[in-house]
Amino acid sequence: MTFGKHLRIKREKLRAEDRQYSVRQVAQRIGVEPAYLSKIEREDVAPPSEAKIRALADELGEDSDVLLAMAGKVSSDLLEVIRKRPRLFAQLIRELKSAPDHAILRVVREVRDGEW
């Protein structure tokens, strides 16, 4: 699903339960004009900045990385990580690109459980 359409569906679903999720009120809370948010949802304009996408993710209870990816962007902290060790991370991402989720999760740092 595209970014704008996804946003609209999510926001409308929330609005059905709570009027605080009208275009006007959400726009006000993330600091944009209602008309602009409406255009984003209709995809008349390109997705907004990373900061606004993060604010929208917070507002709508969405994962900001997932919303950024839908908007064709990569989080600036991830870019910074890659910039520091570009060769290593490019290799890592390419190698993991078709790995199943559980295999990727194995490289995530775990909280260690010891002896109690």
């Binding site: 999760l105 909280v111 260690r112 109690w116």
Partner: protein, 326 residues
Amino acid sequence: MIELQDNNLTFRFPEVHPEAGCQIDFQRTLRIPDDNQEYPLPPGLGRFPVQHVDDYADHLPEAWRKHGGVFVPMYQAEALWINFSGYYPCAIKIAAGKINAVSGEAWKNELSAKPQDYVVSPEQPWLDGFNVSEGHIRQFVAMPLGEGYTAEEQITGEAEHGGLQIIVYPMKAEVYEKLATHRVEEVCYDMAPPTAKDTLGMGLAPGGLMRQKIYSDEYGIEAWELEHSSRCFVHLASSAEYQKITGNNPPHKPPTAQEYATAGLPWFDCYSDKSSIPGAQGLTSLGSIGAKFFSKHSKPLPDNQALKPSVITKLEPSTRVRDGKF
């Protein structure tokens, strides 16, 4: 597996179901008065910072290194509540000093149905304390080990473990799949006492009385994937020790309940007609910190004046947010 992200423990069980898991974080809050009156839910004032034990292993006691897990900073007599989030049903056992906060029994990894010794997420949105009677808990309040306040010391006579212990069991995949096809989609929005001394290692003691139900497991114990679990030892460092260990400042002390109420800020009440479990026999007779402090020092616990919260926000069962701005 457990990951630590943004001071949030993320439990995942990809071997059970791609969606299996939940998140647990520890919310800063104010200490409600310990005067045997019952109080509504205090607010969440943000997450406690959480650190991997392994990142500071050289500065930590041997026992902590052996336990693994994480640690959080708490001031003496500071309160916390445990926040559960996620939509995949999980059975969660919580202990303080290896005393189960729901059943009052000694720690064991396995789940027990009789008496129920766990809570069920997402039905149970949070846990604020020890299950002392049906519909009431006594608030989790950090106290130094060795002074006799903690539930662990009162029950076992020893100050051995301290901290919090958590184990999570996900729902069986086949039970979840069956449930998911039937379920209508729900949207979830999403003091220091005068003798204060900072010692390494704190435990949780029972504080003031609060209205909070611990819901019965409506799925039954057979719904849980007992072959797969993840557990975490959460150590409690005094704020001064935390600063020494990590070089980072702990959060500021929370406001007192009196300051918060005087500022006219909201407390919360969550009404649900779901059935709840009775109080744990072993926890009902615990002495609260107020009572213990008075018997030790022959004077009342500081910052413990009775109050009547005037602003109480009613929470719908589907609303999971109880933020306080201070």
